[in-house]
Amino acid sequence: MFKNFQSILQLNWFYFLLIIIIFWIGEINLFSAASGSLDPWAKNQLIRFLVFIPLFFLILMLKPRIIFNLCEVFLILIVIGLLLTLFFGYTGMGARRWLRLGFINLQISEFAKIFLVLYLAKYFHNLDFKGHLQVSRSIIPLIITFIIFILVAIQPDLGTALILLILGCLMIFFIGIRLIYPILISFIMIAISPFLWTFLKPYQQSRVKTFLNPDLDPLGRGYHIIQSKIAIGSGGTRGNGFLGGSQSSLDFIPEKETDFVFSIFAEQFGFIGSIILISIFILLIIIPIIKSINIQNTFVKLAILGLSIKLLLEVVINISMTLGILPVVGVALPFMSYGGSSLLSNMIICALIMNLMSVEKKFKYFR
C-alpha cells in the first residue's frame, strides 16, 4: 500500500517549498487582515494546517496504484455527500453548502473537484485508445460531470459548480477530443446564454450587472469591487508595507479574510509583491504540468494536469475578481483564503500532485 521509505527522497521537495511559502504569505496576510492580530483567522488557519499535515504526508506515501484503485469509491462518497448536504446541510448565506461531520463543517463541493478529476483521469486511462477521442466515449464523463454540476448548482453555489463544469470539459479536451467539438459547443453556449440568464437567481444577476458597472450600486453590491480596486490601486509600486494598509485595517474591504485576501496583500506589498506572489503561483501550477508531459501513464498525466488546472482556475478567477476583471463569484484563493474546506482540499490536491509527479516516466500501466 505504501511506498518504501527511500522513494521519499525522490519527491519534488521544491514543490513542497512553494506550498509552504504560499501558505506563510497567506498567514502573514491573515494576520494583517485582523489589524495585526493572530485572532481570529491566522491562528485558526495555522492550527488547521498543522492538523492536516499528517494527512498530507499519508497521501504522499501512497502507492499510485492505491490512488488509482480508490477513484470510483471516492466519487460515490462525494455524490452521497452532496446529496446529504442538500437534505441535511448547514445553511449559511442563503445556501446549503456545508455538511456537519462531527465537529467540523465540510464543504463537500470543494472535494468534488478533486475526485471528479481523478475519476475522469481513470476513465480515460482505462479506455486505452488511439488517436482522437471518439465523441461517443465522452458521453459518460459528460453525464457524470453534469450530475455533480447540478448537485452543486442547486445548493446554490454557482461559482463552484461552474468550476466543476469547466474542469470536466477540460479533462475531455485534454484527452484529445477533436477541436471542432469544443468550438461548436462554445458557439452554442454563446447563442443560448441569453436564455440561461433568466435561470439565474436575482442576486446572481445583480452580481453580473454590478460587475459590468460597479457604480450602479456603490454602497451595495458594487461596494466590494470598488473598495477592492481602491485597496489594490493604493498599494502602488512598492505597497504600503506590512500592516500599512489603511483600507484593510479600516474594514473598508468586506470578506477580506476569504474572497478578498488578495486585495489586502496587494495593498500592503504593491505591484512588486503581487508579481512575486503570482510568479510563485505560476511555478506551483506549471512545474507539475511540465513534469507530466514526459510521463507515459495516462491516469497520472491527466490527474496532474487536471488538478493543476483546478488550482489555475481558482487563482485566476479569485484574483481577477478582486481586480474587477470578473464578477464576484465566491471562489477562494488557494492556501491564502481563510477556510478549512478550501485549505484541506488544496493540501490533498498538492499531496496527490507531488506523489504522482514522482512516478517513473516509463511506468505506463498499473500492475
Binding site: 485508445f129 488517436g131 454602497l219 481602491i230 502602488g236 489603511s246 485595517s249 485566476v316 481586480l323
Partner: protein
C-alpha cells in the same frame, strides 16, 4: 503494446496549450495590476485617504405634533440600551458574563453565536428599553465593564391614544445608514417630509485600528418642523368616550367658518404606541380584528347616507325651478313608477307635503315625486359642488372620493343604462350612494355657508381655501329653515333632542337611517321606528346617522355622527351629536 502512442502526443500538445493559457491568464492579471497600481496608483491612493475619514450620519430629531391648544400628541423620547463594542476589550465575553450577574435578563449563552460574528466596531445590543433601576445598577459597577456602554436611541412617543386614527404610526427603523424610520400611516406618513428634518454628519479621522482620533467637522442635524393640528384633544377625547364602546362608528366635528377639523373619531381604534413599541402581539390583533380598528371610518368609511342626503335633491329642485317653497306633493304612503311601488317610512302617509315638511318629517314620497322630475346627472354634479365625490387630501391615508352616482358610472360599472327608479332611491340617500362622515360634514358646511364652504383642513397653519359655488340666498334660507324645524319644531324627527335637553345649545340638523340590507320595500320605515329593529340581527340593523350644527342662529360647529347598526338616526346618533355640539360650544373649542 504501444496502443496509445498517438493519443499521448495529443495530450502532450494540449498540455503545452494549458501552459500557454496559464501564462496568458497571468499576463492579463499582471497588465491589470500594472494599470491599477502603477498607472492609476496615485488616484487610488487619494481615494484611500478619503476612506480614512469616516463619515457618521447623525439622525435628526423628528418634529413634534401638537393639538390645537399646544398639547403634545406625538413627540420623541429617548430610549436606553446596553450595547457591547467588542473592540474596546478583547475579553468582552468575560465582561458580559459578569454583567449578566448584575443585569439578569442578559444571557451570554443566548447571544454568544451572534456576537462572535458581529462587527467589532459596531454596537451589539445586549438589552433594549432598559428600565431606570438597571441604569443605576450599571452606573455603580461601570468601572468593571470597559466594553459595555449605554446607548441612547430615539423613539416616537404618543401620549394620547385617541389621536392614533389621525396621527398614524411609523415604520420599523431600518438598519442601513440611509434610512431613518419613516412615517407609515396618516399624518406621520403624509407629512413625513415636513416632520423628518435633515440628518447631520460628523467627520471623524480614524486611525489604523478604526478608532476615532479626532472629530474633524460636524454638520449638526436639523430637527424636523413641528405640526399643529386643528384637532382639539378635549373634544377628541369627549367624542371618543361618547361613542358606545361596543359600537362601530365615527364622529367628525368641523368648524363651519374655517373648515378646521376639531375632532375626527373612529371606533374601534388602535394605539399608535403599540406600533412604535413593535408589540407584535398587539399589532397582529389589530390587523386580524374583524372590526378593523385600523380603519378610519370618519374619513375612509363610506356609507349610504340615508335621509341626511335629502337637502341635496331639494336644492336641485329649487335651482331648476321644478319646485318652490310652496310646491306640494301628496304622500299616500307610497309612490309608483310603472308597476313598482316605492314606500314611505310612514305607512299611512304624510298627506300633503311641501319642502319644509318633507325635510322636517323626512317624508320619502315627497322626494320620490321630486326625483321623478330630476335628472340624476344634475344631482351628481351638484353633489360634487356641495362636497361629495371628492377626496379630501387632509393628510390621512386611504383617501377615496366615494360616490353619488350618475349615468356614466352605471354604464361603466354595470354596463347598464340608468333606471328611473334608481333616481328615487338615490334621492333618499340609499342605493349606490357612498359618502363618508367627513363628506357629510362638508355638505352641511356648504349648506350653512350658502354654497361656498371652507375646505376641511387639519393643520392650523394651512390657509383657508374655499370650495363650491354660491347658491341663491332665497334657497339657502329655505333649506336652513327646514333643517331648523327638524329639531326645533313639533313633529320634527329630532324634536326629541330639544325636549330632552332644553338647556343645551340650540342646534339644527337632519336625521338619517342608512339601510344595511335591502329589506322589503313595504317594510321601509324611517327615523321614528324602533320596534321592528329589535327583532333583527344586530349586524343587519340600520346605521344611525345624524348631521347637525349649532348654535342655530350663527352656526360655528358641525357634527357628523354615524353609528353602525345603531338603528334610527334619531334614536342614537342625534343625541350624541347634540351632546358633542353642546360640549364644543360650552368649552369654546
Amino acid at each position: 503494446m504501444n496502443s496509445n502512442f498517438d493519443s499521448s502526443k495529443i495530450i502532450k500538445r494540449r498540455s503545452f496549450l494549458a501552459i500557454i493559457l496559464a501564462f496568458l491568464f497571468f499576463l492579463i492579471i499582471s497588465v491589470r495590476l500594472f494599470f491599477l497600481q502603477i498607472i492609476r496608483g496615485d488616484t487610488y491612493k487619494k481615494k484611500s485617504k478619503e476612506n480614512r475619514i469616516s463619515t457618521k450620519i447623525t439622525p435628526p430629531s423628528r418634529g413634534d405634533i401638537f393639538d390645537t391648544n399646544g398639547l403634545l400628541v406625538a413627540g420623541t423620547i429617548s430610549n436606553y440600551s446596553f450595547v457591547v463594542y467588542k473592540y474596546l476589550n478583547k475579553n468582552y465575553d468575560l465582561e458580559i458574563k459578569q454583567f449578566s450577574k448584575i443585569i439578569k435578563p442578559v444571557k451570554y449563552e443566548l447571544l454568544k453565536d451572534k456576537l462572535s460574528k458581529y462587527n467589532s466596531y459596531k454596537p451589539f445590543f445586549l438589552l433594549k428599553n432598559i428600565p431606570w433601576n438597571s441604569i443605576v445598577e450599571f452606573e455603580k459597577n461601570k468601572f468593571r465593564f470597559s466594553s459595555i456602554k449605554i446607548l441612547e436611541t430615539k423613539k416616537r412617543y404618543y401620549p394620547h391614544e385617541n389621536f392614533s386614527q389621525i396621527i398614524g404610526y411609523m415604520s420599523e427603523s431600518q438598519t442601513s445608514l440611509k434610512d431613518f424610520p419613516k412615517g407609515a400611516f396618516h399624518i406621520e406618513e403624509f407629512y413625513n417630509d415636513t416632520l423628518k428634518g435633515f440628518p447631520g454628519k460628523t467627520f471623524n479621522e480614524v486611525n489604523a485600528y478604526g478608532k476615532t482620533v479626532r472629530q474633524i467637522s460636524l454638520e449638526p442635524s436639523i430637527k424636523g418642523s413641528d405640526l399643529h393640528l386643528t384637532v382639539s384633544s378635549n373634544l377628541q377625547n369627549f367624542c371618543q368616550d361618547i361613542i358606545p364602546v361596543n359600537k362601530k362608528g365615527s364622529v367628525v366635528v368641523l368648524n363651519a367658518q374655517d373648515g378646521s377639523i376639531l375632532a375626527l373619531n373612529s371606533n374601534p381604534t388602535f394605539n399608535s404606541q403599540d406600533f412604535e413599541n413593535r408589540d407584535s402581539e398587539k399589532i397582529s390583533s389589530f390587523l386580524n380584528d374583524e372590526n378593523k380598528p385600523l380603519f378610519n371610518r370618519a374619513f375612509s368609511g363610506f356609507y349610504p347616507p340615508g335621509s341626511v342626503f335629502k337637502p341635496l335633491p331639494a336644492l336641485l329642485g329649487l335651482e331648476k325651478g321644478l319646485i318652490n317653497e310652496a310646491t306640494e306633493f301628496f304622500c299616500k304612503g307610497y309612490s309608483s313608477i310603472g308597476s313598482r311601488n316605492y314606500y314611505c317610512w310612514k305607512k299611512g302617509g304624510h298627506g300633503k307635503v311641501n319642502l319644509k315638511k318633507g325635510i322636517k318629517e323626512s317624508c320619502d314620497v315627497y322626494f320620490y315625486e321630486l326625483a321623478k322630475l330630476l335628472n340624476i346627472d344634475d344631482l351628481s354634479s351638484l353633489a360634487t359642488e356641495m362636497g361629495f365625490n371628492q377626496k379630501y387630501k387632509i393628510g390621512l391615508s386611504n383617501a377615496k372620493p366615494g360616490l353619488v352616482p350618475n349615468k356614466k358610472w352605471k354604464r361603466k360599472t354595470y354596463d347598464e343604462s340608468w333606471f328611473p327608479g334608481e333616481t328615487l332611491i338615490t334621492c333618499i340617500g340609499q342605493g349606490a350612494n357612498q359618502v363618508s362622515p367627513l363628506q357629510l360634514a362638508t355638505f352641511y358646511s356648504s349648506i350653512i355657508n350658502g354654497g361656498v364652504y371652507p375646505k376641511p383642513r387639519i393643520l392650523k397653519n394651512q390657509s383657508v381655501e374655499f370650495l363650491g359655488r354660491k347658491i341663491n340666498e332665497k334657497f339657502h334660507k329655505i333649506l336652513l329653515n327646514a333643517l331648523n324645524s327638524v329639531v326645533n319644531e313639533a313633529g320634527g324627527t329630532a324634536n326629541k333632542l330639544f325636549r330632552d335637553n332644553p338647556n343645551y345649545i340650540k342646534i339644527a340638523g337632519k336625521t338619517g337611517t342608512s339601510q344595511v340590507i335591502s329589506i322589503k320595500e313595504s317594510d321601509r320605515e324611517d327615523d321614528l321606528y324602533k320596534e321592528k329593529q329589535k327583532e333583527q340581527l344586530e349586524k343587519f340593523k340600520d346605521h344611525s346617522v345624524f348631521v347637525g350644527y349649532g348654535p342655530v342662529d350663527n352656526p360655528k360647529y358641525i357634527a357628523s355622527v354615524i353609528i353602525e347598526n345603531g338603528g334610527s338616526g334619531s334614536s342614537l346618533a342625534a343625541p350624541l351629536a347634540h351632546k358633542i355640539l353642546n360640549f364644543a360650544e360650552k368649552n369654546n373649542v
